[in-house]
């Protein structure tokens, strides 16, 4: 959580790739999931407390914070997924059936096998689960769902 929050002003541009994330985003709520198959359950269990947002940490300013935040793997799931079955990693469109292999390649160099999903609010459960299944195929066990804090739009 602090890593993401550390994205401070200079990280603003980084987060524009999420369709739903505003360019001036300074805080993100992250819901880490232990098991993607439990994701549904956990969402509702965790969503309520998370609505109040996590503990806010005023991190010291450090030039390296940008690097840490970019180590996270973000998968963007825009509403256009419904038409073309494409998600985005680093602004690169990737067909859903190629996603497992691409994520597997990325995970080789990561110590934490966690993927953060920036999904459009209009994405339905079926679509969400398609992505979960593919991520699980890639060996990802933790999926974080990213949401904007209330009033942040």
């Amino acid at each position: 959580m602090p890593k993401v929050l550390a994205s401070a002003p200079n990280a603003g541009g980084r987060h524009q790739r999420g369709r739903r994330v505003s360019p001036t985003l300074s805080e993100i709520n992250v819901v880490p999931m232990v098991d993607v198959m439990l994701v549904l359950l956990v969402i509702f269990m965790v969503a309520a407390p998370m609505l109040q947002r996590g503990v806010e940490v005023n991190l010291p300013v450090a030039t390296r914070s940008q690097e840490i935040s970019t180590e996270q793997v973000f998968v963007d799931l825009p509403i256009s997924y419904r038409q073309n079955r494409r998600v985005f990693i680093d602004k690169e469109p990737i067909r859903i059936d190629v996603l497992p292999e691409r994520v597997r390649q990325i995970m080789l160099t990561r110590t934490t096998k966690i993927v953060y999903l920036r999904g459009d609010a209009q994405v339905n459960l079926q679509e969400l689960y398609e992505v979960f299944d593919r991520l699980r195929e890639a060996g990802v066990v933790n999926v974080g769902i990213i949401s904007a804090a209330p009033g942040e739009q």
């Binding site: 990737i94 067909r95 190629v98 497992p100 292999e101 691409r102 390649q105 080789l108 160099t109």
Partner: protein, 485 residues
């Protein structure tokens, strides 16, 4: 295999001659298929390589690694900090009866390239998302890019009767540029060899690495479950076998129905030296391609554990001819016998340094068996290890300067490596079964060893970093592997 040089010189040998010569094999019989199909010729695809066409460069001598690539060529790199990602889709069968071969060659090439772990090999079951190209012009680079590939292999196989023509090209996905292209022709006897050859050449060109895809293993095996014919005692025989480095093409070499154990390769990989328990244990050399078996010790005393010197002219071995086990060196033709060690305790299992100037061996002169080294002239003896029990040293090839050995680590044994520069010992295996008798691959990056981790003793290979264990043998019990150049 050294005789694969025929590929480069374009010599065409008829494998039938080979068969005839070997059919006359005495105790050492080699089945023709155990030898590489020798009719592969090599030609550069003229439109392929921007560089040297026509005369193929001779392969650099395998004994010196690493080597310079024979020609300047484009090297495919991956993302910073990651190995380049390779895809090897099925080759295109240009004749209907080549379909199976096209699949086999692609799969074996994938395995070969994966073995050195210098590339990230994209799993072949993910290629279904990419449309298959029927020609190099059709390669869907965008789709390979989407799958994360930095390099993609395109290959074709054409079969005309028994003649096979295999074309292998390597493309950089980003630039869509061909960086490697070779054509091989030969028989259909061993399609895996086309893949092995291409793999070694790609490793050399792209990574300046001497791959081991064409090397072979030898080991002794009791798989045929015969009983010893002689009067020694009623036990199962062991015979010497060879196989490809990946365990394919396993062939029986000795047929003497005796205990044939501890084989080692000659540096040119054309002969095996081993111990045979006939009336008395003695050393024999089987010349695989001549079908000849020789006895360099000429039946004097009991002789065990022969190992060829790196130049192939001498054999170090252990003999009890002077009353207790000592290390001796003799020329391959049986001349110039010299005793290297002289101690009332037992000295055994010699191994040569890569330069042939030193010999490491095991001695129990200090109580428990430990590894010692001594000059090939018998001088400058010193002790290396301080284990509870150390056995079976094998000296690594250059550029590594280390000795792998078997060490007791509890109820069983594990493989350890002694670094001669630092004097430090590290472990390769960690108590999964008993792990014994290490042998280095010619590039020093891998070790073969025998282990009980899967039940009976079987031959496995492992990276020198202790990763990437592969089981090579499965039939019967298989012991004391050695790795060819």
């Amino acid at each position: 295999m050294r005789n694969m040089n025929d590929i480069w010189t374009g010599n065409l040998k008829v494998s039938g001659c080979l068969v005839a010569a070997i059919a006359a094999a005495l105790a050492a019989a080699v089945v023709a298929g155990g030898l590489p199909p020798s009719t592969i010729a090599r030609g550069a695809l003229s439109e392929v390589e921007g560089q040297a066409t026509g005369q193929a460069p001779a392969p650099p001598p395998a004994s010196q690694a690493p080597q310079q690539p024979p020609e300047v060529s484009l090297v495919i790199s991956g993302d910073p900090g990651t190995p380049p990602r390779y895809a090897v889709p099925d080759f295109v069968a240009l004749s209907p009866d080549a379909a199976e071969m096209a699949r086999t060659i692609a799969q074996v090439l994938w395995d070969d390239l994966a073995f050195e772990r210098d590339f990230y090999m994209i799993p072949r079951d993910t290629y279904a998302t990419v449309p298959a190209a029927q020609s190099a012009a059709q390669i869907p680079f965008d789709r390979w890019r989407e799958l994360g590939a930095d390099a993609v292999v395109f290959g074709t196989v054409r079969r005309t009767g028994d003649e096979v023509r295999v074309e292998v090209r390597l493309f950089a996905v980003r630039t869509r540029q061909q960086v490697f292209g070779k054509e091989y022709t030969g028989t259909a006897a061993n399609p895996r060899l086309y893949a092995h050859t291409a793999s070694d050449e790609i490793h050399l060109q792209q990574r300046n690495l001497r791959g081991v895809a064409r090397t072979k293993l030898t080991f002794s095996s009791d798989r045929n479950r015969e009983r010893v014919a002689g009067p020694i005692d009623n036990r199962e025989v062991k015979e010497i076998y060879i196989s490809d480095y990946d365990g394919a093409n396993q062939r029986r070499i000795t047929t003497s129905r005796q205990l044939n154990i501890n084989p080692s390769w000659s540096p040119d990989a054309r002969a095996l030296a081993y111990t045979t328990f006939g009336p008395i244990p003695d050393i024999f050399i089987s010349y695989l391609y001549r079908g000849v078996r020789e006895n360099p010790t000429r039946g004097r005393g009991t002789n065990y554990l022969p190992v060829f010197s790196p130049d192939g002219t001498r054999i170090a071995f252990m003999s009890g001819r002077d009353g207790n086990p000592e290390i001796y060196v003799v020329n391959v033709d049986g001349s110039n016998l010299r005793r290297i060690t002289n101690h009332p305790a037992g000295d055994t299992t010699p191994t040569w340094s890569p330069t042939g100037t030193q010999i490491a061996f095991v001695s129990d002169r200090a109580g428990a068996p430990q590894i010692y080294i001594v000059g090939a002239d018998g001088l400058n003896l010193r002790r290396l290890t301080s284990e509870s029990h150390a056995d079976r040293p094998t000296w690594s090839p250059a550029p590594f300067n280390e000795i792998a050995f078997t060490a007791r680590t509890g109820p069983g044994y594990d493989i350890k490596v002694y670094d001669l520069a630092t004097g430090m010992t590290r472990r390769i295996t960690f108590g999964e079964g008993s792990n014994e008798s290490p042998a280095y691959a010619p590039n020093g990056k891998h070790l073969a060893f025998m282990s009980t981790r899967a039940g009976r003793y079987q031959v496995f290979t492992i990276g020198r970093d202790g990763r990437g264990v592969r089981q090579v043998t499965r039939e019967g019990g298989n012991f004391t592997p050695a790795w060819s150049n």
